[in-house]
């Protein structure tokens, strides 16, 4: 019985990092034909290095990059509608439509 409890406790502990935080990303228009996106996690964890993709309506990748050491990413504004894809791992993907990005 004690082993079962211990095993359950260990599984719970090691599982926590996977669902103990929520990915967060938001973008704004800098007003100079560039967009800045900022990322992070609900536990305050850094988003540095997280892959960013800018894709068009058909899903074609227009721009690819990574979050900086300050957990942000700036790119030139594409001419047509696009989506920002913040890829923070399985189940941790956020997509933002260009029409929701304000100055």
């Amino acid at each position: 019985m004690n082993k079962i409890i211990l095993t359950t406790a260990l599984v719970a502990c090691f599982s926590l990092p996977a669902w103990g935080h929520t990915p967060i990303c938001d973008c704004y228009n800098n007003g100079d034909d560039t967009i800045t996106c900022e990322g992070g996690f609900s536990d305050g964890g850094s988003a540095a290095g997280i892959a960013m993709s800018i894709v068009d309506a058909s899903g074609k990748v227009l721009i690819q990059g990574k979050m900086s050491e300050y957990s942000d990413y700036t790119f030139d504004t594409p001419k047509s509608n696009f989506r920002v894809v913040y890829q923070a791992g399985d189940g941790h993907v956020i997509e933002i439509d260009s029409r929701d990005i304000e100055e």
Partner: protein, 275 residues
């Protein structure tokens, strides 16, 4: 009854009605936890938030700024907000008026995700009945998007209440904890007053909502006087949605202003949300 006596009685009633009501520096914005960036309106009013008591006139704030940050490795950014201060005449339901301020901040100030600590250092207020000055270092926090910053760190003010829980993200029915510090050190057994912001500020009308949200069953409940523990920690319950003010009183070491006693207080506002 002659005129002088009538005026004397009227003034006495105003002073008496003020007993049991704490002075609180409001640094009010409607919401503390926002999903997306937006322009922010802030009201700076010195008043008695539970009783809709008369507001008191403020001088021009000495300092008014916001400290912004998010995550673990991103430097904090401080923005002076004094250029956005607009003088207004704030009115309560008894038509008592006081010089106050409103700040309408453009979206660019609060468009990043993360924590924002708004800080106000007001000009000392002369409290005539006690023949002393009051100066309340006031902090109100909001968060945008849900990425926390350094909400649990001291701001470096001479006096402050350092949060142990996020002041902007609390459930009704939970508790909020903080540590009272002066010059960087905890203040054991600090004298604390708690008030609920019972009359919602209506910023566009520069007045409080005449209708309070709750009624106090007795005088002890409007301004709740408690003590910090021997480590300077204070814990308050949050039984109702809205803003709760915590004020740690007289944390200075015998400071004076204009030759009179100056009470240097620390105010922190805490927002509770209903499940």
């Amino acid at each position: 009854m002659n005129k002088t006596l009538t005026i004397t009685i009227a003034i006495s009633l105003i002073i008496l009605s003020n007993i049991g009501q704490a002075h609180f520096q409001l640094l009010y914005t409607p919401e503390s936890a926002l999903n997306q960036a937006q322009s922010t309106e802030i009201a700076l009013v010195f008043s008695h938030p539970f009783h809709n008591g008369y507001p008191m006139s403020m001088g021009t704030p000495l300092e008014f700024y916001v400290i912004q940050d998010r995550g673990e490795s991103i430097p904090t950014k401080t923005t002076d907000l004094r250029e956005y201060l607009q003088p207004v005449t704030w009115t309560n339901s008894d038509n008592q008026q006081a010089a106050s301020f409103v700040a309408k901040l453009p979206r660019a100030i609060t468009r990043s995700i993360g924590d924002y600590s708004f800080v106000l250092v007001p000009e000392p207020y002369y409290e005539e009945p006690e023949d002393k000055y009051i100066q309340q270092y006031t902090r109100t926090m909001i968060n945008i998007g849900g990425v926390p910053g350094s909400w649990d760190k001291p701001l470096g003010l001479p006096v402050e209440i350092v949060p142990l829980d996020k002041p902007y993200a609390n459930w009704v029915g939970g508790v909020f904890r903080g540590v009272v510090i002066a010059n960087g050190k905890p203040v054991p057994n600090a004298e604390i007053e708690i008030e609920y912001l019972n009359h919602e500020p209506l910023i566009d009308q520069a007045m409080f909502d005449p209708n309070g949200k709750i009624e106090a069953p007795q005088g002890s409940f409007g301004t709740m006087s408690i003590r910090a523990n021997d480590r300077g920690e204070v814990t308050i319950g949050l039984p109702k949605a809205g803003w709760w003010g915590i004020c740690a009183l007289d944390l200075d070491d015998g400071e004076t202003y204009n030759g009179k006693d100056l009470s240097v207080d620390a105010v922190l506002w805490v927002r509770a949300y209903a499940p």
